[in-house]
Amino acid sequence: MKQDEIEQKIEELKRLAQQRSVDISHDLNRLQEKLSSGHSSPTEAWRKVELARNSERPTTLDLIDKMSDGEYLELHGDRLYGDDAAIVGGIARIGGRMVTFIGHQKGRTMKENIRRNYGMGHPEGYRKALRLAHQAEKFHRPIITFIDTAGAYPGLGSEERSVGEAIARNLKDFSTLRVPIVCFVIGEGGSGGALGIGVGNEVYMLENSVYSVISPEGCASILLRDPTKAQEAAALLKMTAEDLLQFGIIDGILSEPLGGAQMDHAATAAVIQQQVQDSLARLSAKSPDQLIRERMNKLMSLGRFVDEAAPKQGFLQRLFSRK
């Protein structure tokens, strides 16, 4: 975000505050920090974590309902064990185009959150996602995914039915699906549970979403050996959209409405919908082989290291470029 944009936002905020008599000191502080430094401070990273976890943010079904103008059908079940309400999926008509959608689904009320297990998937959720992805491939529908989970659920049933296997299979199978896949991190992108529906041709993050190998709390207690240092850990983990864009892990950042996505679901849906349409216009022009090659290329380039002997860094990537 450029400095003049930020100054413009400050002006907008001040007007809004006067009109509605709301406390905007948080937002002002945050912008002030941005002005004073190019890097995200612990406070700033933590604020993103909090915004990403805000239970008023739009969920997968909120977004799909708006993006499809209600023209969607949720499809249930993995045809193996059960239907996981923490991961939803189905078919939607977006901008005239049929797509398969898959996403973590948090609740908003406590009752809904208990039913949906706070968006933390069990193996059957990941297997439903895979079933729907293969269905999409068979019928040439692009896939869009919405990532919003603290992680896969670490419980007995999850281990008994091997959530590890379920995630692993998705990682492998999604890498060679013959249709365009576009992923959106819309809230929390937590670890393997997020990545399990996160392999695509393009990955975008909402401005205030986060994406990390471990929660700041987990990192604080394991690596910093102090559970109270979650805010510090959030900054150390480099988990904001800006960090990931800089690392080359994601393809872009989608602006949220003023104050965060929770302030205006429709506007958030519109931004994502625009990106879906742009991405699919670009990706649908490519052959399945090209889609897979580009996706594979991206996946093979993930990682930073040095190789003091030939082949040099990027060896695997070049291998797939040649094909």
């Binding site: 659920y153 937590g190 990682g303």
Partner: protein, 292 residues
């Protein structure tokens, strides 16, 4: 919202991501047996030469001691056939995590290895294969960029040369010090396996004690055949994390090889001494299409 969060805290749901804890990283059964000459399981007397000849398996109760990568190679690959690959791929500190460089130096000293995985080509009972051996001694076998790169390269080497890939897994999970890069190694290694599949070559996994986290949720669960050593601890989330979530003790035997066999995720449990023979049989049974 405050209410929800406090509820989640009460349920232990905000701590759920401590998946990648190094499991029992402190347990050192080898040091114990060297000092006491006793099996930590059945307390029988074990002398050093005997243990060495028995592949570090207690001949009285079948207890499998953890072994080093160097020993694993010796017990698995035909003498003189192992040729290491990608030996000069080294870690950097990709997200500038404080103290990571020091940790790596420490791990090198402790393990005698450059990284948490050794890859190479070799033969098992005369059958050529690509091998990958993970080391728990190197930062708990955690997967960062180098582990992901080396394993992906080994897999692609198998695809290119028309060789099966045999991998011995052990890991505490992702290497958190590399942040999002460590997470992405799960996708990278799994995608490499999709390419091995296209080549028609087999991927054979041997799960050893312990295998957890991001490794379980990627290549270690994707073997055409998955073997496990007896009584190895294997899972996605660590036992302490699960206990923290469900607020009760885990059942006896939970996440052991035998549990995974019963739950349908392990093809067969094979005692260490029989592994070379079983691997040779499986390589014979899994001839790919391309075999130059």
């Amino acid at each position: 919202m405050g209410l929800l969060d406090s509820l989640k805290n009460a349920l232990g749901l905000n701590q759920k991501q401590e998946t990648e804890v190094s499991i029992a990283a402190s347990r050192d059964d080898r040091a114990e047996v060297l000092q006491k000459h006793q099996c930590p399981n059945c307390h029988a007397h074990l002398d050093d030469g005997e243990l060495e000849r028995d592949f570090f398996v207690c001949r009285h109760c079948g207890y499998h001691f953890r072994i080093t990568v160097q020993e694993r190679i010796k017990y698995t690959v035909d003498l003189g056939t192992f040729q290491e690959t990608a030996s000069q791929v080294y870690s950097i500190n990709p997200i500038g995590f404080p103290g990571y460089e020091a940790k790596i130096l420490e791990a090198r000293t402790a393990s005698g290895l450059n990284e948490a995985v050794i890859t190479g080509t070799g033969e098992v009972k005369g059958r050529k294969a690509v091998f990958a051996f993970m080391s728990f001694k190197f930062m708990g076998g955690s997967m960062g960029s180098v582990v992901g790169e080396k394993i992906a390269r080994a897999i692609i080497l198998g695809a290119e040369r028309g060789l099966p890939v045999v991998l011995f897994a052990t890991s505490g999970g992702a290497r958190m010090q590399e942040g999002i890069f460590s997470l992405m190694q799960m996708a990278k290694t799994s995608a490499a396996l999709a390419q091995l599949e296209v080549s028609g070559q087999a991927f054979i996994v041997v799960l050893t004690d312990p295998t957890y986290g991001g490794v379980t949720a990627s290549f270690a669960s994707l073997g055409d055949v998955i073997l496990a050593e007896p009584r190895a601890m294997i899972g996605f989330a660590g036992p302490r994390v699960i206990e923290g979530t469900i607020r009760q003790k885990l059942p006896e035997g939970f996440q052991r090889s035998e549990f995974l066999l019963e739950k349908g995720f392990v093809d067969a449990i094979v005692p260490r001494g029989q592994l070379p023979e079983k691997l040779a049989f499986l390589i014979d049974a899994h001839q790919g299409r391309i075999r130059p």
